[in-house]
Symmetry: C2
Subunit: 447 residues, 2 copies
């Protein structure tokens, strides 16, 4: 931290290099290194940063950290508009743009560095958004709402309910789309929850996160946000989706179906993957074009009337099976009044036969027991082997190609709608939000 | 089933077509369809098969099912050697080949159709192997051992111990390599277990399974077995590996490190993936060439003395965190005398703060609590966010890029070696069998 110099976060060699050219945060800087030229606005570094990199925000909204060596050429080419002070566009211009609400729940994407102090602020006002990502002013009239400010691992089904209710109230007021800024850790679970809680959607609901905060080199916060707001404002679908980077390039944002998406890498920007389904759509950041990747989708229709079903039952467990698992834990769930158990079985949907007695008892006591696969990809099929057929006979419900995480959320939602076992089973196996994909074609002749 | 005609499993149109040309199981058949010609040995179908496909075993060992339509041309081109009766190669020839033991534990790969009766037999004798996969006779002198005949979801740490002991006894007798036929469902867990239990290996130990039984169209049993036996006999490494198809083609078998491999699809033949590591080697089925894919491996050395450490502690739990998880289940594990808990946290290694008290208590009572990520890919890093640092302060041990399944097996193994907490922590964070990969290089300048 080095606030006096107007270069917060910079130290050592990087700080010296910037001082030599009288640079300040917000200045337009050109760095030439190994034949490559980078031009962008100088942004502050985090206090945990090293002393060797200078971070520029490039024109495309992407941040890049460049290591300064003795042979690196660094120039100040303009006192660029300081991002923190760039004014929002004049109201008369913004009035023509679609209305989008950005609901902030916390997470890396909702944190921003204050360009003047270098401090991290945990929330987004509309002006914060416009100043950090000026492109947004050209896309939509944004209303920013801070619902809460939580790391997403602390978000629970109670919060899903609040997010669903908040989203519904804005949709009923007539926004063209809703963006929900969310930590990435459990964004897949929340996306599934909203897919069930918000039925008959008239407009898109787009969750967005970032893997790197805006003050870090190569942050994906701005580009993901641009993609999410564009999708909320203009996408032709009216479903719950997750907007995140498609790959390492800065060209494409994928919009994944809320029930089929999973965080699959601890740190990569393309961590979210559609599992057992194609993404809903892709968005080209350069042209702004949104291309649907599936023919079957629910079209945007502002006249459609939203149905809100935000209740979730928390007494539902996700149990991953493993060799030597003690089945007594299943008894503990039953004894503790749990109403549902989602198993992450092996392969096509199996658990060791030493768990059968406990599962039988659970079913007998009215607990809904459902089967998914820890393979993640592929489809449960309990008709292939005897032991799968035994599990079906015990009353275990196979959930086809549903993600274990989505299955957990769905069972919580189902048991929030009904306490009646047969009705719950029927809801659980009904396709509400593309949580089941149609069977895929055989891989090869004869299969 | 239609035993009288010598065409077990065939019915309807397929049966009629075969009868017209007087075909019997074992005959060499040519089928021409849509310009493609298939030539192979007619094999029986499973009793669950449809009435439209004829299944041929092609020359490359691969089975294919071809749908018979009125325009399909089908010819008998030879009364090929009936596979069930093909004699093993003469002993004088086999004496020069390396000795490999095939230990059968069960699973799809260990089942075979008896060509005469169409019945499925659950075990492999050496002659069964030679007759189903005649190529094996050219590769190695095989000793076949039936250890047990279990669906792999029924395999527990007690069986890991038996497999390790059986493997060790054959290695000490001087075989050139060991193949372990295993159901695919939990083959990754067993591979990890053997990686820890069999230290200082002089020769390769190769686990192999199949996704389709030998009597089904496009079975991968023969090709996987050929790959596994070749690797056991000739591979330059002396580590535990899993041999399975690399892709949908029939050209390459990958040899994955036992600690870095995971079943990632319920049904595809290329279901096993190396996670956070490259596979150890690949084997070209056409040329037989084995190419190492990593420079760092333990070389085969028959003089090296195996160290057998086959004990596993079963009182270890794998707990996948999810939003709204009831932390009382952690208390239940502590109260039930569990000695270790592996958490599958979110993202970089997080759980909700509502679990902190229960984790604190677990650590206080001497339970080893370790953190992995449910993202599967990537590396746990609990220093990035405050909540990760809180977990470290509570005594939760971060397990870098280790797979959750491998972490579970390793903690079971560690607690089988020592009851002393500090020693257990030290063993848990020591790299024994490539369960930790070196940190990867940054994705981009400045990261």
């Amino acid at each position: 931290m080095n606030e006096k110099t107007g270069l917060p976060g910079y130290k050592g060699e990087a700080l010296e290099a910037l001082k030599r050219i009288n640079a300040e945060i917000g200045d337009l800087i050109r760095i030439t290194k190994d034949g490559t030229r980078f031009e962008g606005i100088l942004i502050p570094r985090s206090e945990y940063g090293d002393d060797k990199h200078v971070v520029l925000k490039l024109k495309n909204g992407y941040n890049v950290g460049i290591r300064i060596t003795p042979s690196t050429r660094i120039e100040k080419i303009g006192e660029g508009a300081k991002p923190a002070f760039s004014p929002p566009p004049p109201p008369e211009k913004r009035g023509d743009l679609p209305k989008v609400v950005v609901i902030s729940t916390g997470g890396t994407i909702a944190s921003r560095v204050d360009y003047r102090t270098g401090a991290v602020r945990p929330a987004l006002t509309a002006n914060d958004l416009y100043s950090v990502v000026p492109e947004l002013a050209e896309i939509a009239q944004i209303e920013a709402k801070i619902l809460f400010s939580l790391f997403s691992e602390n978000i629970t089904p109670k919060h899903w309910r609040q997010i669903a209710e908040e989203t519904a109230s804005h949709i009923r007021e007539g926004v063209e789309g809703v963006v929900i800024a969310h930590g990435t850790d459990t964004m897949g679970y929340t996306a599934a929850a909203l897919s069930f809680a918000l039925q008959n959607l008239p407009v898109p609901v787009v969750l967005v996160g970032s893997q790197r905060s805006a003050d870090r080199p190569s942050s994906d916060a701005a580009t993901n946000l641009i993609g999410a707001v564009k999708a909320a404002a203009y996408a032709p679908f009216a479903q719950v989706a997750v907007a995140m980077h498609a790959d390492f390039s800065d060209k494409t944002i994928l919009l994944h179906k809320g029930t089929k998406v999973r965080k699959c890498h601890t740190s990569r920007r393309d961590t979210f993957k559609s599992v057992n389904a194609k993404p809903l759509a892709k968005l080209d950041l350069e042209t702004g074009a949104i291309t649907m990747l599936t023919r079957e989708f629910k079209e945007r229709d502002p006249k459609r009337e939203l149905v809100l079903k935000p209740k979730f039952e928390e007494k539902v467990a996700l149990v991953k099976f493993y060799p030597g698992m003690n089945p007594a834990v299943l008894d503990w769930y039953v004894d503790s009044g749990f109403k549902g158990i989602v198993l992450e079985g092996t392969g096509l949907g199996h658990v060791g036969n030493y768990c059968f007695e406990a599962l039988k008892r659970a079913v007998r006591e009215g607990v809904i027991v459902a089967m998914t696969s820890q393979c993640i990809w592929g489809r449960v099929n309990m008709n292939v082997y005897n032991q799968g057929r035994d599990l079906l006979a015990l009353g275990v419900i196979p959930l086809e190609d549903m993600l274990p995480e989505t299955a957990l959320v769905k069972l919580m939602w189902v048991l929030g709608q009904t306490g009646e076992v047969e009705e719950a089973k029927s809801l659980l196996t009904t396709n509400f939000a593309d949580e089941f994909s149609p069977r895929t074609l055989p891989e090869k002749i004869g299969e």
